[in-house]
Amino acid sequence: MDGFILQILNGLDKGSAYALIALGLTLIFGTLGVVNFAHGALFMIGAFCAVTLNRLLTLSYVTEDPSRTDFLGNPAKVETPYVVDWFGESVGLAMIDWVVPLAILFSIPIMVAVGLIMERGLIKHFYKRPHADQILVTFGLAIVLQEIIKYYYGANPIPTPAPEAFVGTFDFGAMLGFEPFTILYPYWRLVYFVFAVILIGAVFAFLQFTTFGMVVRAGMADRETVGLLGINIDRRFTLMFALAAVVAGLAGVMYTPIISPNYHMGMDFLVLSFVVVVVGGMGSLPGAVAAGFLLGILESFASMPVAISIIPGINQIIIYLVAIVILLTRPRGLMGRKGVMEE
């Protein structure tokens, strides 16, 4: 039973990442009708916003310490971050420690800019082209972006730890009456799950309760009529692209303590997120979120030794297997709308 609960918890945080990426993908598809294969790259860029802020905060001046030597036997170089000099040791070190939460603020304008440049500079030219063209150009863009990141940051993962206050595990076992230390769950993963729920809720609230959101929803349902009412729906859809980029970027920022960022992390999530979108139903925001959590949890269960011993390799195929079953039984996905990608 304790193993069962732990795998549900694992599935929730993994599902959170899938849901956030799939939410952005669906937003873009629902508004602009574009199948954006560069969306995983936005997740990766978000993660590297945290890495970049970390590098900025740890920018240091160098002094020599003659009492120690470096690997060549020369006097050792001691690096002191400028923020420690400027703000004092306690504040400076706290800023470095809290780099990931601070990167949320740092990444928002960057992701808005990246989203707008990507949409205005490239993707808008492919609105009237076939989906295959859109997939090719956005996939190419994703490769270009990841190669740029690799050029500047290298190929190896870069550790970006959570704040010291969130290092450690929460003992769910003790809380739920099981044996202590049997259901340990890292604090940061709980933070990630809560953050994802808040972010998803905020996006839904924005679409549901604001005039802007109402217009966007109307545009998703009937773009032409909204345009005839004199509303510049294209401009709003462009802003939705930027919003989707921000959601993906924030998902990436907060994921950095879970997986050390590397240039390929966007691709790792992209394919699975597309499966999530398809399973949830193309164009369905609740479907994307529900499928994200569902597939995350199923993937966790499929990784249990007992599952692998019964069906070897199930851990590698479970998501695709579920996708096949759902598409055979519900061709539009869990919550897909009629008419989407059916013309």
Binding site: G3, A76, P157, P159, T182, I259, S260, H264, S300, M304
Partner: protein
């Protein structure tokens, strides 16, 4: 009925035809090479085939740096590095057999097909006489087989699977790097003395060739000292979040987790394991421990503070104090500003060993080079006295057991050497991994 023509003209004609006939084979062979890509008199080209893109691109970049340094030293530039400490004094800094060393590079992308394509291109288009490099056993095995077919020598870079010089060994292939068996043999006694002999181990293993041989080697060696293996799970090579694989460890009876992972897999699985508090647990009355059989400084950097106190093995480390290691670290560090990785070390050494073998053989013929390398004993290259075993073309030398350093003094100071395991402890019978070396192929 034939008629014998004994006239002067007839004898001359017959003699000319007979002479031409006898000379024919010589005419053909004298213009052709005796082996693939026989170099001219002025230069010789080596092929450096490393991952310049893909997940091991940083290791590939470090390997390239080492190759460039080796070429400098072979051509008499720089401070000479390990040429000054190498026990063989055949190399004199005047290239190889008087020919200036030149090179071409290829990108393996850490994919076997891409690695073979780039190696083929270097051999066929650029005339490379020797191919070296790689940061993956799958790639090494694939390129080694290609070099065997093409008739050039393959000097493997970082490849740790038993198979490279085991079931997939080739007469034209040579490996200086250690292997999974040696890691297990070196680690087990240290693990036993530090963690006790009554332990229950759980293995997470990368689902490919290297993972299998490493799991097998560590299992065999730890079970030999009394450990019990309570679980083994294969993880996909593309896995990034290992939380769902680590959760069952919490519910098993295991008190040790062995991560048979390398590269990004190792960074992420170790980070996840530490996040889940495995190292803070007490199971069966013992502190829970994590073991990483193959360490790399570049990967340790990616895992950050999570490596502290964790045991593993490595082929070489820049902090070694022997003359050869220090000479190499000095050359490399002065040129590039940071110490070399174990991948850089093995690639540098392999280049020098090849050049030395050619010089001692007096020929670039792969079969002559092979003969010069087989059974060659040397020292001064950073690993103590070393033997290139003739039976499987595997180097036998001391193996380092290392541990993540608790209080690093700088960004490179991530691992500390716990023990230098003597070569006798990691030596094994060449036949145990099967495979046939076959015979040397000079090509052409």
């Amino acid at each position: 009925m034939s008629k014998l023509d004994l006239s002067r003209r007839g004898v001359l004609k017959t003699g000319a035809v007979a002479g031409a006939g006898l000379a024919l084979p010589t005419i053909f062979t004298s213009g052709a090479s005796a082996f693939t890509n026989e170099p001219g008199d002025s230069s010789v080209t080596l092929g450096f085939n490393v991952p310049q893109s893909g997940p091991y691109a940083d290791e590939g970049a470090d390997e390239l740096r080492a190759y460039f340094l080796a070429v400098e030293h072979l051509n008499g530039e720089g401070d000479g590095g390990m040429l000054n400490t190498f026990s063989s004094k055949a190399l004199d800094g005047a290239g190889i057999l008087g020919r200036k060393v030149e090179y071409v590079t290829g990108d393996t992308q850490t994919k076997s097909d891409a690695a073979r394509a780039s190696a083929r291109s270097m051999i066929e288009k650029d005339g490379a006489i020797m191919i070296t490099g790689g940061s993956s056993s799958g790639v090494a095995v694939a390129v080694q087989a290609l070099c065997q077919e093409a008739g050039v020598i393959f000097m493997a870079g970082l490849t740790h699977s038993n198979d490279t010089t085991g079931k997939d060994k080739k007469a034209n292939g040579f490996r200086h790097f250690f292997n999974s068996y040696m890691s297990g043999a070196a680690l087990a006694p240290i693990l036993g003395s530090n963690y006790g002999t009554d332990r229950k181990a759980y293995h997470l293993t990368a689902d490919y060739n290297w993972g299998y041989t490493t799991e097998e080697a560590v299992r065999t060696s730890t079970e030999a000292i009394g450990w019990e293996t309570v679980g083994t799970v294969k993880t996909p090579l593309t896995q990034t979040d290992f939380s769902s694989y680590i959760a069952p460890v919490l519910n098993s009876d295991a008190d040790v987790l062995v991560l048979n992972h390398y590269g990004g897999n190792m960074v992420n699985s170790l980070t996840n394991a530490v996040q889940f508090g495995l190292r803070d647990r007490v199971v069966n009355g013992k502190n829970f421990e994590i073991v990483v059989p193959l360490y790399s400084r570049l990967m340790a950097k990616g895992a950050g503070a999570n490596v502290k106190g964790i045991y593993g093995s490595t082929n070489w480390h820049w902090s070694l104090s022997d003359e050869g290691s220090q000479a190499f670290v000095r050359s490399f560090g002065t040129k590039y500003g940071f110490p070399p990785s174990q991948a850089a070390h093995t690639c540098y050494v392999q280049t020098l060993l090849y050049a030395d073998a050619v010089t001692r053989a007096g020929s670039f013929n792969p079969c002559a080079v092979s003969e010069a390398l087989e059974g060659f004993e040397f020292d001064g290259m950073g690993n103590g006295p070393t033997l290139y075993r003739a039976e499987d073309h595997q180097c036998f030398k001391d193996v380092l057991v290392v541990r993540g350093k608790e209080n690093p003094e700088n960004e490179f100071d991530l691992l500390e050497i716990v023990e230098v395991t003597p070569v006798a402890q990691v030596t094994y019978d060449a036949s145990i991994f099967g495979g046939e070396l076959g015979s040397c192929n000079p090509g052409a």
